[in-house]
């Protein structure tokens, strides 16, 4: 996975470096890509706020399949979102950025949840590429609600007897 993670980790650092600059100087708004999968992750270092990663469906699907080690169904939004969130979580941890008070990424899919409009509020966004395809990373200088949720279109399995989860 390193060949996939490393470009994301590098870009996370670039986004945060840029966000520090934009705090000090008025920044021009950049284009916000209309990507379908959105992951928000609270970060504490070097600037407190929210990393917003967005992925077009193709990239998200390829990343998820790489991470899971098997081909995920292209329309399986919950599994794709879950895997992509895990990748961003790992990349942010590897970059030493994660906010310990908000350890879990928020996963949204643009067509199902209003929170997916978060990228529109990013000060600036970097569009970039990894082996799985294009994606973008932005930074919001304010904390957002974070915590793993699943798209409304396909809910997670219900806990069995209110306790364990059936696979």
């Amino acid at each position: 996975m390193d060949h996939v993670l490393d470009p994301i980790v590098r870009t996370l650092h670039r986004v945060l470096d840029m966000s520090l600059e934009t705090c000090a100087h008025e920044a021009a708004c950049s284009h916000t890509p209309d990507h379908e999968f959105v992951v928000s992750l609270g970060v504490a270092t070097p600037s407190h706020g929210t990393i917003v990663a967005t992925f077009p469906r193709d990239t998200a699907y390829r990343l998820a399949s790489l991470f899971a080690g098997h081909e995920i169904a292209a329309e399986d939004d919950p599994e794709i979102a879950d895997a992509v969130a895990e990748i961003i979580d790992i990349a942010a941890s590897r970059a030493g950025l994660r906010d310990p008070d908000h350890p879990c990424p928020l996963v949204t899919v643009r067509h199902s949840l209003a929170d997916a409009r978060i990228p529109d509020r990013c000060q600036r966004t970097i569009e970039c590429f990894c082996n799985a395809g294009e994606f973008s990373l932005g930074f919001l200088p304010v904390p957002q609600t974070v915590g793993r949720i699943t798209p409304a279109s396909a809910p997670r399995p219900e806990p069995r007897n209110g306790k364990g989860i059936t696979p």
Partner: protein, 123 residues
């Protein structure tokens, strides 16, 4: 051998379940929160527990302590995205037997589980 997987990521639980099944340990139950996990402990009585360090409702080290208090004989492997030294020390101090950094290959998790079970047999 019974194994409890505690991770808020369905993908991670699926990967871990697959590896355990390959190792010949298919008796697995899952929890996606610390609350679910603690509720399951008495009923499922696991021999091995894989714990995600960053759960939505409880810090991983605190959960390991709670598990250790309830089922001291269970072996606990902490699985986490951050492999920083402090995180490892926190997990071990809390009672974890071993620690695996994400992302891991199946071989790495297999080796870790095998080592933990061998150590368990020596006790």
């Amino acid at each position: 051998m019974r194994t409890l997987l505690i991770d808020d990521s369905l993908t991670m639980r699926t990967i871990q379940r697959g590896i355990l099944t390959q190792l010949g340990h298919p008796d697995v139950d899952e929890a996606e929160t610390a609350e679910q996990a603690l509720a399951l402990l008495g009923e499922f009585d696991p021999d091995l527990i894989l714990v995600d360090r960053a759960l939505p409702d409880m810090d991983g080290a605190a959960l390991v302590r709670a598990i250790h208090a309830r089922t001291p004989s269970a072996r606990v492997i902490v699985v986490a995205a951050d492999a920083h030294r402090r995180a490892v020390v926190d997990a071990i101090n809390a009672g974890a037997t071993s620690y695996v950094a994400k992302p891991f290959t199946p071989d790495v998790l297999c080796q870790c589980i095998t080592e933990v079970l061998e150590r368990s047999g020596d006790d």
